[in-house]
Each structure stands twice: as structure tokens, then as C-alpha cells.
């Protein structure tokens, strides 16, 4: 066993000792992956895992380094990129991934990717034709 593998196991025992808690947070992430386009309802998420809303928030941030809201936004942008590459219109994409306003979608998309959704789509489609 390498030094690194020994360290993985040693650190894992310290940081990830509470497996039931970790499983609850993993289930929360899986739920978000399958429902990213819906309104984020922390009460529902917390009830499903039988923990308080604020505890769930803290635990999610502790294990994934992001709040559930930040995680969902990243997921929506990632999915939006896929839709745009597949040729879906910007407006359709905006609503398909769960945003309620084209303005906020475009602003957030540009902040996260450096390009507007229109420009991103144009570049990707011209690339695929090369």
C-alpha cells in the first residue's frame, strides 16, 4: 500500500466517520440531481432525511463545499449548456432548467461561463460544423 493510500484511509476515518449522516447528504444530492429544475424546497429535503433544515444546509456545505442552492445553480447551468449544444433555443433552455426569467438566466449564464447563452450556442454550433 502506498503512502497516499494509507493517508486516504487515515483521513477518511477522521473526516468521514459518520456514515449514516454522509448517506443522508448523498441522498440529498441525488435528489437535487433529479429535481434541479424544480423550486428548491429545503423543508421537503430536510424532512425526507429527518434532519432540520439548517442542519441539512450546514452538512451539505460541509461535505460538498457548496450550499444546496449553489449546487442547483451549477447543475442548471451545466444542463443549460447541454441543451444549447443540442440546439434548443435560449428561451426554451431557460425554462427547461428551472429559471423563471430570461434576464436572470442570461446574466447568471454569462457570469458562470464568461459568455451569453446566445454566444455560447453560436460558438458550439459553429464548432460542431467544422
Amino acid at each position: 500500500m502506498t503512502f497516499y493510500e494509507k493517508e486516504i484511509h487515515r483521513i477518511g476515518r477522521i473526516v468521514y466517520a459518520n456514515q449514516p449522516q454522509i448517506n443522508a447528504i448523498i441522498r440529498t444530492r441525488q435528489y437535487l440531481d433529479n429535481n434541479y429544475e424544480s423550486d428548491l424546497n429545503l423543508d421537503v429535503l430536510a424532512n425526507a432525511q429527518s434532519i432540520s433544515k439548517y442542519h441539512l444546509l450546514r452538512l451539505f456545505k460541509k461535505y460538498y463545499g457548496l450550499t444546496p442552492a449553489q449546487y442547483v445553480i451549477d447543475k442548471r447551468i451545466e444542463k443549460a449548456k447541454e441543451h444549447l449544444v443540442d440546439g434548443m433555443s435560449v428561451t426554451e433552455t431557460c425554462f427547461a432548467v428551472g429559471f423563471e426569467s430570461l434576464g436572470s438566466f442570461s446574466t447568471l449564464f454569462k457570469r458562470k461561463t464568461g459568455k451569453s447563452p446566445y454566444k455560447y450556442q453560436k460558438e458550439q454550433l459553429s464548432r460542431s460544423m467544422q
Partner: protein, 131 residues
């Protein structure tokens, strides 16, 4: 300021190019001759071709401390670079079939699963899957 290039030190650029494209599935993006057999050789992920480029740089052949550091990391099994995959177990099995050597088999660690392989060019590379 944005991240556009990440470096991986390699002992043999041509061998690295073959390993990273033929076994790992990266795509060559830039290949610029820099004299004395050296190249500015970059790759991109097939799934994110507008993402950061991986530069296969021959630093260990020209700068002794780079070689010493790379050797020390290799001996300790430490991966300096990691790539994300959707399914570590599946990728592990695919690469084992291609005779890639792993020093850490798929191992769950909290909210991630990891595995570490040898890139045959002086580096341990870690695969990561978020659980």
C-alpha cells in the same frame, strides 16, 4: 483572469500523447514545435472541448528539481492531477482492460469515490466521482 491551461510534467511527450488520447480519450488541441524536439502540446477533454487545456510539458527532462519532485510523488503514490468521471468503477474496469496499472482501486471516501493509476509518463493520476 481565467484558467485555460493546466500542466502535467511528462518524460516523453509522444508517449504521453498516445496514452492520454488512445487510453484516456482526450483530444489533441495544439501541437506547436518549440525546437530541440520539444512541443507545446495540449489536450482537451472530449466532453468539454471548450474547457481548460492539459499541457503535456517535458519539464522533468530539462529541469532537475522537476524530475526529483515527480519521482518523489510517484514513489509515495501521490496524484498531483485528478480528472472527474461519472463512474469510477466503470472507468477503472475500462482502463484495466487496456492494461493501465492502478495503485489505488476504486475506494469510497465520504462523498467521493477515487482511484489512482499510473500514466506511464511519470505521474499518478486520480479519478474522482462525486457520490
Amino acid at each position: 483572469m481565467k484558467v485555460s491551461v493546466l500542466s502535467i510534467p511528462v518524460r516523453d511527450q509522444q508517449k504521453a500523447l498516445e496514452f492520454y488520447t488512445e487510453k484516456l480519450g482526450f483530444i489533441k488541441k495544439r501541437d506547436v514545435p518549440l525546437g530541440e524536439g520539444n512541443r507545446w502540446l495540449t489536450l482537451v477533454s472530449k466532453e468539454a472541448q471548450d474547457g481548460p487545456e492539459v499541457l503535456l510539458e517535458p519539464a522533468p527532462n530539462h529541469f532537475e528539481p522537476s524530475k526529483v519532485y515527480q519521482d518523489a510523488l510517484m514513489e509515495a503514490g501521490i496524484p498531483y492531477t485528478q480528472f472527474n468521471v461519472d463512474d469510477v468503477q466503470k472507468e477503472y474496469e475500462r482502463l484495466i482492460d487496456l492494461e493501465v496499472q492502478f495503485s489505488v482501486k476504486p475506494t469510497a471516501m465520504g462523498t467521493v469515490k477515487v482511484a489512482v493509476f499510473n500514466d506511464t509518463c511519470g505521474n499518478n493520476i486520480q479519478l474522482v466521482q462525486e457520490l
